[in-house]
């Protein structure tokens, strides 16, 4: 059951990653008319159209992560402490903080992306922040998940 929850958590994070990366790329580096390459098509999306999906996916992924965190605290972290694998514990701590603070920014993110099209810089900043947090969370989560193979 725990493994199933972890896989669902990871799959939701991957979907979120795709959405936020498209949106951040479109916000920071908009496609200009006539551009046709792969990178241009990647960022040539209706960025605002991703907003509600991103918020819903982020909330669901975060809640599921908050539940899985219990399993980490009881079953994963104590052995890491015994093995003195402090960098892995520290990375997970940073992930926890980064994603928690980002979770608190979601209402602001939603407001600027749905209600304030005039606030271009704030929208781009929040989209990039969200993308960075999701990328960091996914990479660290993956490392922690695989850590038994390394220590």
């Amino acid at each position: 059951m725990n493994i199933a929850l972890l896989i669902i958590h990871g799959l939701m994070a991957v979907m979120l990653l795709g959405a936020v990366t498209h949106q951040a790329a479109a916000a920071v580096w908009p496609r200009r008319p006539g551009q046709r390459g792969l990178a241009s098509r990647f960022r040539g999306v209706n960025a605002a159209g991703y907003t509600n999906t991103i918020v819903i996916l982020d909330v669901l992924t975060f809640i599921l992560g908050g539940y899985i965190y219990i399993i980490y605290r009881i079953e994963v972290r104590p052995p890491l402490e015994v093995l003195l694998d402090l960098p892995t514990i520290g990375l997970f701590e940073l992930k926890e903080h980064f994603l928690s603070v980002t979770f608190g920014m979601l209402p602001a993110y939603w407001y600027y992306w749905t209600q304030r099209p005039d606030m271009v810089k704030t929208r781009a900043t929040l989209a990039v922040w969200l993308a960075l947090s999701v990328w960091f969370g996914l990479v660290v989560g993956h490392l922690v998940n695989n850590v038994r193979g390394f220590v």
């Binding site: 908050g66 965190y69 219990i70 605290r73 009881i74 972290r77 104590p78 402090l86 960098p87 514990i89 520290g90 990375l91 701590e93 940073l94 926890e96 903080h97 980064f98 928690s100 603070v101 980002t102 979770f103 608190g104 920014m105 209402p107 602001a108 939603w110 407001y111 600027y112 209600q115 606030m119 704030t122 900043t125 929040l126 922040w129």
Partner: protein, 110 residues
């Protein structure tokens, strides 16, 4: 929603700012002990009997309350004069919080 919505950036400021302070000064609303499925108000240490403590849920709970309070206060301020301030603070305060938390957690990497 547009009128009330202007309070939402203030929520990010209150939540992000409180979260870092809560971690630094041990200010969770409650401590959860997952091994025994028990709660204690405020901060509490783990032990052989109750297992490892989890303060994170308690930081989040207080963070939401502080965020809501600041969001409510933001509605009392003049919208036009403060909208640009909130537009910057809503990511600057969380950024400062993350940098501070990263500095505190450096012990794991030294």
């Amino acid at each position: 929603m547009k009128g009330m919505g202007r309070a939402l950036p203030a929520f990010a400021v209150g939540f992000g700012g409180y979260y870092a302070a809560a971690f630094q000064f041990n200010w969770p609303m409650f401590t959860y002990f997952p091994a025994v499925n028990g709660f204690v108000w405020g901060w509490a240490p783990g032990s052989e009997t109750v297992g490892p403590p989890m303060h994170w849920y308690g930081w989040m709970a207080y963070g939401v309350i502080v965020g809501l309070v600041l969001a409510g206060l933001a509605l009392l301020l003049p919208a036009k004069r403060t909208e640009k301030v909130w537009a910057v603070l809503c990511w600057v305060v969380p950024l400062a919080s993350i940098l501070w938390l990263g500095y505190i957690e450096r012990q794991f990497f030294m």
